[in-house]
């Protein structure tokens, strides 16, 4: 009997206290309607106070890139809050440089809307939309990379610049999260997006995408990204991709040759062994049609006795060997951080300004 009373007494107390807290939350964490001003009057919104800035913007169809789903662990959701964001939080400082802190850059997932708030968002992000789509192709490229093609439902079109990325919504135990993937399909295919997804053991996004079948529904937002392709056809384009970093390069190259059939362009692709090679045939065919496209695949650890006559060594070596210095160039890099660093150094030695080198580390 005494055990029953003990459980009842303690349980009752906890229930009572929880009730008090639930009521208190309803009454206290109610900031009413707050004004959310974007780019000084460009898009005035009214939102419910108490949410984070990221949630409020999301609810109003403004999709700020965020890979971690608002946990403050990716640092992607940087926006400028000019007024009303409260002081900088200790959860934000690790992701912001001193310069960013000075110019009021904040992490949208950490800033709570408690009062009227004034933010600045690059116009690029304001055109980001949410799409529902259906998987139309799911094809194995190598032992760990799959090509996934998503057909956008209805008559909606996506307008992207080559090199941009989308964020896929993937289910997780803590609710949906977003994961970023580069678009590999060229810009003229505006009713679909294609990605190359490398399976990361235990990864939420890649596991979800690898398990998809044709016909499954996928929600994504996009396009995001700061890659700007130079419109002057005289400028030579250098693309360097490592592993599935080839995805944005495919987009860039196919988009270029759709528009400028004679433009000069180099593609360098680095990977470990022959098992990691993909898309070589397609690029070789394209290079036959467009003689100004140079395709170089380099293996860093070719297997013993492998049938490989191309370049060996890390990818920055052929970049160094093959490029003439001091030409008008623009470069796009995508791959692991070490590769980006090595290639950036080589390209700067070749006389490319760092402003003309766009990269995406992962």
């Amino acid at each position: 009997m005494v055990y029953l009373w003990a459980i009842l007494a303690f349980g009752g107390l906890v229930v009572l206290l929880s009730l008090v807290l639930i009521i208190a939350e309803k009454v206290l964490i109610n900031y009413g309607i707050c004004k959310l001003d974007i780019n000084v009057g460009e898009k005035p919104l009214e939102v419910d106070g108490g949410q984070t800035l990221l949630q409020s913007l999301f609810a109003n169809q403004i999709f700020i890139p965020s890979a971690c789903g608002g946990k403050g662990s990716c640092g992607h959701c940087k926006i400028v809050v000019t007024e009303g964001g409260g002081p900088l939080l200790p959860t934000e400082t690790p992701y912001l440089t001193r310069k960013e802190q000075k110019s009021n850059v904040r992490l949208a997932c950490q800033v709570k809307v408690r009062e009227d708030i004034y933010v600045r968002i690059p116009s690029d992000l304001l055109s980001v939309k949410m799409f529902t789509s259906t998987v139309s192709i799911s094809e194995t490229m190598t032992y760990d990379i799959k090509l996934i093609r998503l057909k956008i439902d209805g008559d909606e079109k996506i307008s992207q610049r080559p090199g941009q990325y989308i964020q896929i919504q993937a289910p997780s135990p803590d609710g949906p999260v977003f994961r970023a993937y580069s678009i590999s399909s060229p810009t003229y295919e505006d009713d679909s997006v294609e990605m190359m997804v490398r399976l990361v053991p235990g990864g939420i996004g890649s596991t979800f995408l690898h398990e998809l079948n044709v016909g499954d529904e996928v929600i994504f937002t996009g396009p995001y990204g700061e890659f700007y392709l130079n419109d002057d056809p005289e400028t030579e384009i250098i693309c360097v991709g490592g592993g599935c970093g080839l995805a944005p390069m495919k987009n860039i190259i196919f988009s270029i040759y759709d528009k400028w059939p004679d433009r000069s362009c180099w593609l360098f692709f680095g990977c470990r062994g022959t098992g990691d090679i993909f898309y070589l045939k397609e690029f070789k065919e394209l290079a036959k049609k467009h003689p100004n496209l140079h395709v170089v695949y380099a293996l860093s650890e070719p297997e013993e006795g492998a049938d490989w006559s191309g370049e060996t060594g890390f990818v920055h070596l052929p970049v160094d060997k093959m490029l003439e210095p001091d030409l008008e160039r623009q470069a796009f890099l995508c791959g692991p951080p070490l590769m980006i660093e090595a290639v950036t150094r080589v390209l700067e030695d070749k006389g490319i300004a760092s402003d003309d080198i766009f990269y995406d580390k992962f």
Binding site: V2, W5, F10, L13, A24, L28, I29
Partner: protein
């Protein structure tokens, strides 16, 4: 049941039996949050509020629920649950009405949950067999005493910022030493009133 009036207990809990300086309860937030007088007053107010309310609730829960049901041995877990819920409440309250204090206190606001001064106050009033009025006096006095100690400390530390403290003693070590000196100074109140 002792006959000391609630007012005397309140005074005693502030000066002679200061929960921090006589019993050394609640030291962690005392050392960590005593750099600014403003923050110290804010945290002190929050602790006072939580101490006095939880003393009342814990008194009622103990005497009207736990004792009749012969469950007095559950007092720890019950008291902790009450305190945790109240701190949560205070956190919401402070976040709503004083965002500045909310950010200044940071992690130390939720950490009031495990401030031993608060659980200590609740335990003392059971051990010493206080009546309800005495418990309120003790809880209030205990909170005020803790606040007095942290505000004094913050004042001293603000002054100390301009003094030449030997390198090894900077920050926490000197704070510990100053706390000891403060405690000894408070012993001077000893003869004024006494509660056991």
């Amino acid at each position: 049941m002792n006959e000391t009036s609630a007012i005397v207990i309140l005074i005693a809990a502030i000066f002679t039996n200061n929960i921090l300086l006589a019993n050394f309860l609640g030291m962690c937030s005392f050392v960590a949050c005593s750099n600014q007088i403003g923050t110290a007053i804010g945290l002190g107010t929050a602790v006072t509020f939580v101490t006095v309310t939880t003393s009342m609730i814990n008194f009622a829960v103990y005497h009207y629920v736990l004792v009749p049901l012969e469950l007095a041995h559950l007092q720890f877990i019950v008291f902790i649950a009450v305190i945790a819920a109240f701190v949560q409440f205070v956190e919401m309250f402070v976040e709503r009405f004083s965002p500045k204090l909310y950010f200044a206190l940071g992690i130390f606001l939720p950490l009031i949950t495990v401030n031993c001064a608060i659980l200590g106050a609740s335990m003392f009033l059971i051990i010493r067999n206080y009546t309800f009025a005495q418990s309120v006096g003790f809880g209030f006095g205990g909170g005020l005493g803790w606040m007095l100690a942290i505000v004094l400390m913050a004042g001293l530390r603000q002054k100390m910022r301009y003094s030449n403290i030997p390198k090894p003693f900077e920050n926490v070590p000197i704070a510990m030493i100053v706390t000891g000196v403060l405690a000894m100074a408070f012993m001077g109140f000893g003869g004024m009133v006494s509660i056991q």
